[in-house]
């Protein structure tokens, strides 16, 4: 079980946090990550409209051949995306813990502007702790 990376996408589709934890995926420039996050934001909106059976949420898990992306949408529209290996089954739990850390160390920080890139050292430390537990 490997956790490759974490993205946090704000409700407008902008990437406000991006961190890599393990090798295995390509290393991209921050600009490319921004584009991918925007794409994912759009895909998320479309997938909820494609449902053949009544109402549906947006995309929750995307699987490729060697990795998967687990997307957690909060009530406020922020998306937490965790890139893990295919066998990982704890991605949802890890995302919950990261969301808690986000609430405690980002939202409660008086120096953080909502919807803007996250530059809070304490959050980095907490995320690293969570990843260590789950990886």
């Amino acid at each position: 079980m490997t956790i490759f990376g974490l993205w946090i996408i704000n409700k407008a589709g902008g990437l406000v946090y991006q961190k890599n934890f393990a090798d295995g995926l390509a290393l991209l420039s921050s600009n490319e990550y921004l584009v991918l996050a925007g794409t994912l934001h759009g895909i998320h909106a479309i997938t909820s409209r494609l449902s053949p059976a009544g109402r549906s949420s947006g995309v929750e898990v995307i699987e490729a051949e060697t990795f998967k992306m687990t997307i957690f949408l909060t009530a406020t529209g922020t998306k937490f995306v965790l890139l893990t290996s295919l066998t990982d089954s704890t991605a949802d739990a890890a995302l919950q813990r990261i969301y808690e850390a986000y609430a405690d160390f980002v939202m409660k920080s008086p120096f953080h502007t909502p919807e803007m890139p996250i530059r809070t050292e304490k959050f980095d430390v907490k995320v690293a702790e969570v990843i260590k537990v789950f990886a």
Binding site: L25, A26, L28, E32, L36, T39, L40, G42, I43, I46, T47, S48, R49, L50, S51, P52, A53, G54, R55, S56, S57, G58, V59, E60, V61, I62, E63, A64, E65, T66, F67, L83
Partner: protein, 214 residues
């Protein structure tokens, strides 16, 4: 567990085949001109000429022209024999808000973007396999020739790649590729034909995951 629908796209991004099973909402028929001919009768707009709307012209002429029964002797045959309206069997399934051509474009757009994203992220020539929402799961199988087989099932189904591959190596090769009446890669027509439709239907109905409530 159940299967909702199957789309086939060719390498020109066009939807060339469609079939559905347990959908709660049928897509609206495609807007004329936005969908190739011969994709699926159920989602193609039917020509609504005045003829197909003609009901009985005479109260005594109670029989349909196409049913092969003789019109009463001495009765002047109706000016325009009522042509049976070739509408798909009336289903009670409600229509979804999207028309079929828009829906097919969205499906293609999503798998295209996701494939690009996966390739960018992995840095390898890797393909996107499936995604899941709370309401359904979408599976993709792409052939070397650029045909994309896309299937929508319920979210708890395991990977359906092998089934899509079976459709490709079975019915698709047999009744589409080896069918001289089907123009492959034509950009003008879909590949719908009775044999392919039936064979695909048989194949999927034989799967244990097909039934609606199991």
């Amino acid at each position: 567990m159940t299967i909702y629908s199957l789309y086939i796209f060719d390498r020109h991004c066009a939807c060339i085949y469609y079939q559905d099973w347990h959908r709660a909402q049928r897509p609206k028929p495609a807007v004329a001109g936005n969908l190739l001919q011969g994709v699926a009768r159920a989602v193609t707009q039917q020509p609504t000429t005045a003829l197909s709307q003609v009901e009985f012209t005479s109260p005594r002429n109670t029989l349909n022209y196409s049913s092969g029964v003789v019109v009463a002797i001495g009765e002047p045959s109706p000016a325009a024999p009522p042509i049976p309206a070739k509408t798909p069997p009336v289903s009670t399934v409600p229509m979804s808000k999207l028309s079929f051509d828009e829906e097919a474009k969205l499906v293609y757009g999503v798998i295209f973007s996701l494939k690009n994203m996966v390739q960018k992220l992995s840095g390898r020539d890797e393909s996107f396999v499936n995604y899941r929402t709370s309401g359904y799961k979408l599976h993709v199988f792409e052939t070397l020739t650029g045909y994309k087989f896309v299937m929508l099932t319920d979210p708890v189904t395991d990977s359906m790649r092998f089934v899509l591959r079976q459709i490709y190596t079975g019915p698709f090769l047999e009744y589409v590729v080896r069918n001289p009446l089907i123009a492959m890669d034509s950009k003008e027509r879909g590949v719908d034909n009775e044999h392919f439709r039936q064979a695909t239907d048989r194949l999927l109905r034989s799967l244990s995951i097909f039934s609606k409530n199991s």
